[in-house]
């Protein structure tokens, strides 16, 4: 995929926090020689090339575009389509771009509910009739435009074709470098593959895994806030819903190492669309009871917010999405 000895690469961010950029900078700091083989054609956070510069490029002249963040504003769709047209390979970088990420939890509410909370309900706002508008005429008589907030947040593959995925919130520098090495090797895996992370569940690389029995059976699920956790033991056997068994490895189990549960930022192992459903059925399977009502009660006590636990990073990419679309953002 090298053209003239260098990889022509574009970076872009949509509804994101900047953590993906920090991770990319960390990755480059760990291997500074990368700078010599990357020809950066677009990177709004760090390099001064504008959208117009991208528009002028011939189609398919960018080797690879790494896009992070979810699709939240009208202008994100426009930029995603532009980069798709100009790039040979488009990669969804990070959890938000892959499946919506944490900002995707906004899909549990309608756009109007989100806007109303922020611009009129919070206790610090007193001017209840004011809110941002897409087209506004200033007192000087000039029109100012804002991009429109879309009814729901979408993952990148809902608006353009995506070739590969690099998971994580954010992907660790190691995951990022692994993925870049695969791209540079020219030996590209099948389209739709996940790059740079593990092919196995997180438990496989977790140092606490040695304490996990072959078959887990627990009497109760607990919330972490009122549970004293033994940092040397698997969180699941202590009743904490750790998502390690359902989540792709690749981060070296950073959260369990400090006695905190995996919250699933590397997403599903397979490309199945319903990661959250898998999480809930796994949790049900480790409860030591045959009584369905008891199982339901135990899950309800330990997991008061099943959607927030199981779909923390993947709601917009889940099967629930169809319902969300149908109901204009409500539901779940």
């Amino acid at each position: 995929m090298l053209s003239e000895g260098k990889v022509r690469i574009a970076f872009y961010w949509m509804a994101s926090c900047g953590g993906c950029e920090e991770a990319q900078v960390d990755a480059v700091s760990d291997e500074p020689s990368l700078i010599n083989i990357l020809d950066i054609v677009f990177w709004p956070v760090a390099v001064d090339f504008k959208k117009e510069d991208v528009e002028k490029l011939p189609d398919k002249s960018v080797d690879v575009a790494l896009i992070n963040g979810g699709v939240r504003l009208s202008e994100h769709i426009e930029m995603a389509k532009l980069l798709r047209r100009k790039s040979k390979i488009v990669i969804a970088y990070g959890a938000c771009s892959s499946w919506g990420g944490i900002p995707g939890l906004a899909n549990l509410y309608s756009r109007e509910e989100v806007l109303s909370r922020i611009y009129s309900e919070v206790p610090t706002v007193y001017e209840k009739d004011k809110k941002p508008t897409v087209k506004y005429i200033t007192e000087e008589g000039i029109e100012l435009e804002l991009p429109e907030v879309l009814p729901i947040l979408l993952p990148l593959n809902a608006v353009i074709e995506v070739d590969y995925y690099i998971p994580g919130c954010p992907p660790t520098p190691e995951t990022t470098l692994n993925a870049l090495k695969i791209l540079l090797s020219g030996k590209l895996p099948p389209k739709g593959s996940v790059l740079g992370a593990s092919q196995r569940a997180l438990c496989d690389e977790c140092p606490l895994n040695v304490t996990k029995p072959e078959k887990i059976l627990i009497k109760n699920l607990s919330r972490i806030y009122n549970t004293r956790v033994d940092p040397g033991k698997c969180l699941l056997i202590q009743g904490i819903p750790c998502l390690g068994p359902s989540t792709r490895g690749g981060c070296t189990a950073l959260c369990p190492r400090v006695a905190m549960p995996c919250i699933g930022c590397y997403g599903p192992l397979e490309t199945h669309t319903d990661y959250g459903g898998k999480v809930i059925s796994f949790l049900a399977s480790i409860i030591d009871s045959k009584d369905e009502r008891e199982i339901a009660r135990i899950i309800e006590e330990g997991v008061p917010d099943p959607a927030g636990l199981a779909y923390k990073f993947t709601l917009p990419a889940s099967r629930l999405r169809l319902n969300l679309m149908k109901w204009g953002g409500r539901g779940a």
Binding site: G18, G19, E21, A46, R117, Y119, V122, T133, Y225, K312
Partner: protein, 492 residues
């Protein structure tokens, strides 16, 4: 140039502005700028989707607001959770949190000084574009620069060992932290404190010799172009000394007199948010004075935060070297509060010294060796939990309301960058009015504007100069009907 009554100039997107950003300058019939707007087109809705989540999840959800300062959100959230669950962490947990927090502040400030804003000062505002980046900084300061970068990376990796991760840390829990420090981490910490001090003193030396040693840069810092006489707010300890992790909020008026000092639980008595229809960002202001528009002075409630504001509200610094540097800045600039926006860079260097000295104090404190780092909440949660920290870019407040199971019902977040949004708009407006005359966009405009926002907030200039690149500005001239008349590239 076509004749027209009124025009606008759009700079879109402004590179290196988090969540993009767009500057629109409006011109009168003579082509003079009469108003400039900074629009922030970004909205994700955290305040809404926190509703329905277990409160403890807020500590991992809210860092995703900002990947540049996730530790600040994590810490404000964890403190709000202590409050919501009515639990006081053991002293060791408080000290370890503050220690990790100071390491974060130090490395974040160092990033800003060397990589983001430093190029303007260290390489110089007049230097060619291709040199005004981190590579130019390294050339100018030599081997020292590489040493600073390696110390910074070491500190970041140390924080990963303490907090679990540097980007989006998980270790804070209501009542303390998730895991005590292992002896080898404590040893590594203590072995590293002198390097943290070295980073700080070296940075101070670099600032004084290269920046203050250059009369043209000193003149720029003390220039009226970036001066706004506003209120200032920051966290102070019981002796009115700056503290990043805890304390009371203190506000001083534009003449430096204490206007208010209060516990964060009283913030609603002092703070309100103003909404403008042309941007998604909200503008917090001092409620007791009122929103009077984008103007400064004692009758306008615009309230500034971040390093300069923090020093402006502090009577002194809690550590000796920082105190000395603090006195020197106020003596040199000859006023307190200092109203020169660009002095924020100087204040940031003083805070680097404070953070390094505080890291040393806390790392050497035997309390951090304790295995008792968590008190488990036992009381019924809610209904309210409020937490505050000083993020690198200023006061950060998390306010949660929950039911009796600790499920969040309401959330309000006042994020550091918001506080300065009004003042940043004023700085950009001032620069645009001064420089856009007779329909001509003068050469220095872009850099003047960039320097205005860069001083406040690397979140608004994330990665500035991180890599070489030619800077371009797109100028679009519209008539009053909004029709595009002319479009051109302007190079700095």
């Amino acid at each position: 140039m076509p004749s027209l009554r009124m025009r606008k100039i759009v700079v879109d997107p402004i590179t290196r502005l988090e969540g993009h950003g767009r500057i629109v300058a409006i011109l009168d019939e003579r082509g003079d700028c009469i108003r400039a707007y900074l629009q922030v087109p970004e909205l994700r809705g955290f305040e809404k989707f926190l509703e329905g989540r277990p409160a403890e999840d807020a500590a991992v959800i809210t860092p995703r607001i900002c990947g540049v300062c996730p530790t600040a959100h994590h810490m404000a959230s964890t403190k709000a959770l202590d409050d919501l669950f009515h639990v006081d962490p053991p002293i060791a947990a408080k000290k370890i949190r503050e220690l990790a927090y100071n390491i974060f502040m130090l490395e974040d400030h160092a990033l800003h000084f060397y990589v983001l804003a430093g190029p303007d000062f260290i390489v110089g505002p007049e230097a060619p574009r291709e040199e005004r980046n981190i590579i130019g900084v390294l050339k100018k300061v030599g081997a020292l620069g590489y040493k600073i970068i390696s110390i910074r990376r070491k500190l970041r990796k140390l924080n990963e060992k303490i907090m679990g991760r540097t980007i989006h840390p998980p270790f804070g829990r209501p009542g303390g932290i998730s895991k005590p420090l292992e002896p080898e981490v404590i040893k590594e910490l203590r072995d590293s404190v002198n390097e943290a001090i070295e980073l700080a003193t070296t940075t101070h030396k670099v600032f004084k010799s290269i920046v203050l040693g250059d009369p043209s840069i000193y003149k720029l810092i003390a220039s009226d172009a970036y001066r706004h006489e506003t209120y200032y707010m920051g966290l102070v300890d019981d002796k009115n000394r700056l503290n990043f992790y805890d304390g009371k909020l203190r506000i001083v008026d534009p003449r430096g007199r204490e206007y208010a000092k209060f516990d964060v639980h009283e913030y609603l008595n002092y703070v309100a948010e103003h909404i403008e229809p042309w941007t998604y960002i909200k503008f917090p202001y001092l409620k007791t004075v009122g929103w009077k528009g984008f103007i400064d002075g004692p009758d306008s409630g615009i309230l500034c935060v971040a390093p300069l504001a923090r020093l402006n509200v502090s009577d002194s610094m809690a550590t000796p070297m920082a105190q000395q540097a603090f006195e020197e800045m106020y003596e040199t600039l000859g006023e307190k509060p200092v109203h020169y926006t660009l002095a924020t860079h100087w204040a940031r260097v003083i805070e680097i010294i404070y953070a390094a000295e505080r890291i040393k104090e806390l790392a050497e404190d035997p309390d951090i060796e304790s295995r008792e780092v968590l008190n488990i909440p036992t009381k019924t949660p809610g209904p309210t939990g409020i937490g505050v920290v000083e993020a690198p870019r200023g006061v950060l407040i998390h306010h949660y309301e929950s039911d009796e199971r600790g499920i969040l019902r309401k959330a309000n977040l006042l994020v550091a960058t918001q506080w300065n949004a009004a003042r940043i708009n004023m700085s950009i407006d001032k620069a645009a009015r001064a420089l856009i005359r007779g329909g001509e966009v003068r050469e220095g405009l872009l850099n003047m504007i960039e320097m205005a926002f860069r001083a406040y907030d690397p979140c608004h200039a994330c990665g500035t100069h991180a890599l070489p690149g030619e800077l371009k500005i797109i100028v679009e001239l519209y008539n009053e009907k909004g029709e595009l008349l002319e479009k051109k590239y302007l190079r700095d």
